[in-house]
Amino acid sequence: MGVRETSAQVLDRMRASGYDKAYCNVADQELHELQSEDGDIKLMRTAFETDVSMTGIIEHKRGSIGINTTDRGSVDDALESLRQMTNAAQPDEANDIAEHTPAAQFTSGPSEPDYDAMYDRIMELQEHVATNYPTVNLRSTSITFGKTSTSRVNSNGVDLLEEQGAYSVSVQFSAKDGEATSSMNYTGYSTHVLDVPIAQKNDVDQLIAQSVEQMHTKNIPGKFTGDLIVSPHCLSTFTGFLMGKISDSAMIDGTSIYRGQLKELVADPSLTIRCCPLSDNLTAGYHTYGTGFVAQDTTVVENGLLQTFMLSQFGANKLGMARAVNGGGCTIIEPGDSSLEDMIKNVAEGIFINRFSGGRPNDQGEFSGIAKNSYYIKDGEIQFPIRETTISGNLAASLKNITAISRERLNSGASNVPWVQIRGITAS
């Protein structure tokens, strides 16, 4: 039985159980994976998974349950448990499911894995690294092909089917020569086709090359307040604070510093952030989400002005505000007008940061943490890879202190973002 037939049957039984509102999501997933460890392909995985999620609302009381089998007995048990949970819940008029939308089907990406390409791309990367970077250890490389069919149906007449296929590639590496050891680094991307060597995607070759340099790090000369050039690999640390604080939890509990800031300046006017799950340029996008919504692209920050909060339906109902038109992620940041090279030249003293290992920022956005796999910049030139360097500042202020955005961007399939220069960061 296909996911659509299964979800329809489960929904019928939920309706018969007397729910005021009911939602069911059935997803079949096939995973095909090759994993390499320490430069040797070690594991081949084939997995078949099914997820059945049910949400029921009675008299504004809500419960949700998930199982991974579709046989009648398991579904019956789950429905009985869901009924008990829903009856026991606290009512809240904000509980709801997606409104009616015309039935639709969406398809993206390939439907079958190319095992030869998966194998050859990993072997090619291993040979590339062994030849060009003999001190680098490819600790873990994996290519996973995932194919998912998801049916979302609800008692408002929603009937959505989405079929997605994509490869996820991840690479983790470090360098070691004698007792000299680099910090571990990693990256990854999503793609529909394995037509390009892994080393040429998402800065992989550059990051691996940097690992060799990073076996020999130095402390910065002393504490200073200067510029930070944030690479696309860790830009989400800075934009993620804003995205988190305009979402449900912080907005509902009132601790968000962005409450009341709609259409206000929350970042430098050079910054425009979009969430674009429908973008043809992002292979990790999606068309459906939540309890049966059809996703739309949205602009979160335009020229520094906050354009929308990222509230779920529950959060929006709770606050009497508009819900976000997608489920988040798929970040696209508009490019700037500087070259990365010029941005570096304009730094009197600063840090080029590739990875950030930091504590949880407080509600005001104050943060501190270590700049990993990063470099010291002085008088417009990158000087040396750094060690034990803490950076600190305020994440909300950082977005207002952007001084340049690069023309170049990095597309990981899940995001397409540039390098960003921020002033006023303390390094020690």
């Binding site: 040797d40 081949m44 995985r45 084939t46 290992s357 504590g359």
Partner: protein, 461 residues
């Protein structure tokens, strides 16, 4: 899910080393935010997995269906996958060490199950307690999460067992406002091994935790920022646990050592003060069953304690069958998988720095100018042993006495250097059960330790 299937029946289908694992993870969550219920959910995900080793390569397959045909197909697919890999590259015919471990355990409740109404009422009672007793709290949340992991294993070596591990946690978050009207937050988890009914049989322990958290929140309300730089510090016992797990533990996992961790260069060397002994316990310490008891790992190895550091000397690493073979040493029973569809990795179990003989008050009195740091938020470490932990609050220490509260910060450094600076360890051992390690797969871990006096770098302006 049916968990009483006789897996031995399928052994005639094994053509090389094979692990057959039947597993179900069951979780529950109930959440309240400012008195409103924001989550009320359950999930169960289970199935069968087979992992086959053929000339140095692994094949893995899994499925949720548990019919005989489906289990046979899973074994055949894993065997085929291993054969595909072993045929594609020159393999040396590596052989894994045999293991015939057996172990059964069951940490499900001993009494009757509570209904959903009763669990929700328990949370609601706690929420009302906060409203009544914490007048300066502006925002509050309570999130209960319970996880049961049931595993049945059979391997072609004849190892096997049936183990059910459980844990239940309530995360409490309180927020007030400082004099400038800005939110000030503090959170903490309470819970331990066991199901909800056993762990939360009485609300008074949770209420005591709320009281302590609230008092600290009031201290933090107008806390000073700590001064950035290297300082003498007392790390509270909860920080010692994450230091053990995150900063040292990961560098001594066999696969990380194989990949080039600095710890690989230090075996047999003095890496810490002679006061420091650190152990990854399998399941028991001083007769007490630990937060994440592992008796049989997911490769069928009887789990053993691993002494990582003894009196400051780096003594050993944690291993699965492959890394033990690589380093020509014994297996330790550290191979663990999170879900039925995950392969076992080298993972910690209950990692702790053992307590010393000092009293916490004496430790504080021994510092002229420093900090007492507590309540970690998150932690990360590196194969270089460079670490970072987020810290929610602490207190200044001036002339041997606790002073003003200090606000959120991070501490960082090189773990093996920090351990050399350890000069006092308190005589109490505190275990933390809320850890969820994120090495490729999430996995519950236990962490423990005493209060530690050392030197550390504190971040900040």
């Amino acid at each position: 899910m049916q968990t009483d299937i006789d897996l031995k029946r399928f052994s005639n289908q094994f053509t090389s080393y094979t692990e057959l694992r039947l597993q179900e993870n069951r979780s529950e969550g109930i959440g309240f935010l400012n008195g409103d219920m924001i989550s009320n959910s359950k999930s169960a995900a289970g199935g069968i997995s087979a992992r086959v080793f053929d000339k140095g390569a692994w094949g893995f397959s899994c499925g949720a269906e548990l019919s005989d045909d489906s289990i046979s197909r899973t074994i055949q697919m894993a065997t085929k996958n291993a054969a595909f890999l072993s045929s594609r590259s020159g393999r040396d015919g590596a052989v894994l060490p045999p293991a015939t471990g057996h172990g059964d355990s069951d940490f499900t409740r001993t009494g009757p199950a509570l209904s959903q109404e009763e669990k929700i009422a328990f949370l609601k009672k706690l929420d009302n307690y906060i409203v009544r007793n914490c007048p300066e709290v502006k925002s509050r949340s309570l999130n209960m999460s319970c996880l049961d992991m049931e595993k049945q294993l059979f391997t072609s070596d004849g190892a096997g067992g049936h183990n059910i591990t459980t844990r239940s946690i309530i995360m409490i978050r309180l927020t007030t406002e400082n004099d400038q009207g800005q939110p000030v937050e503090l959170f903490s988890g309470i819970g331990e091994r066991g199901q909800f009914e056993d762990v939360f049989s009485d609300s008074s322990e949770v209420e005591a935790t709320i009281d302590k958290l609230y008092n600290k929140l009031l201290d933090k309300k107008n806390a000073a920022r700590p001064e950035a730089g290297h300082h003498d510090v007392i790390l509270d016992s909860d920080l010692a646990g994450i230091l053990a797990h995150e900063a040292i533990g990961h560098t001594t996992e066999g696969d990380i050592v194989k990949a080039g961790s600095v710890a690989g260069d230090y075996l047999g060397q003095q890496v810490a003060s002679e006061l420091v002994t650190m152990v990854d316990f399998a399941n028991t310490w001083h007769g007490e069953t630990l937060p994440v008891p592992v008796y049989l790992d997911d490769e069928g190895v009887q789990s053993e304690d691993v002494t990582i550091i003894e009196n400051g000397i780096l003594k050993g690493f944690m291993h699965n069958k492959e890394t033990a073979t690589h380093f020509n040493t014994s297996v330790t029973g550290n191979a663990r998988a999170y879900q039925y569809h995950d392969e076992p990795l080298v993972r910690m179990r209950n990692t702790a720095i053992l307590p010393g003989t000092s009293k916490l008050d004496d430790m504080i009195a021994s510092i002229d100018n420093g900090y007492y740091l507590m309540n970690w938020t998150n932690g990360q470490a590196d194969s270089t042993s460079e670490f970072m932990f987020g810290v929610q609050m602490g207190y200044e220490i001036k002339d041997g006495k606790l002073g003003r509260a200090v606000s959120d910060t991070t501490i960082s450094g090189i773990a093996f250097e920090l351990l050399k600076d350890v000069s006092m360890l308190s005589d109490e051992m505190v275990w933390n059960c809320s850890g969820m390690c994120g090495k490729k797969q999430p996995l519950p871990v236990g962490m423990g330790g005493p209060a530690v006096k050392t030197k550390v770098f504190i971040g900040g302006q």
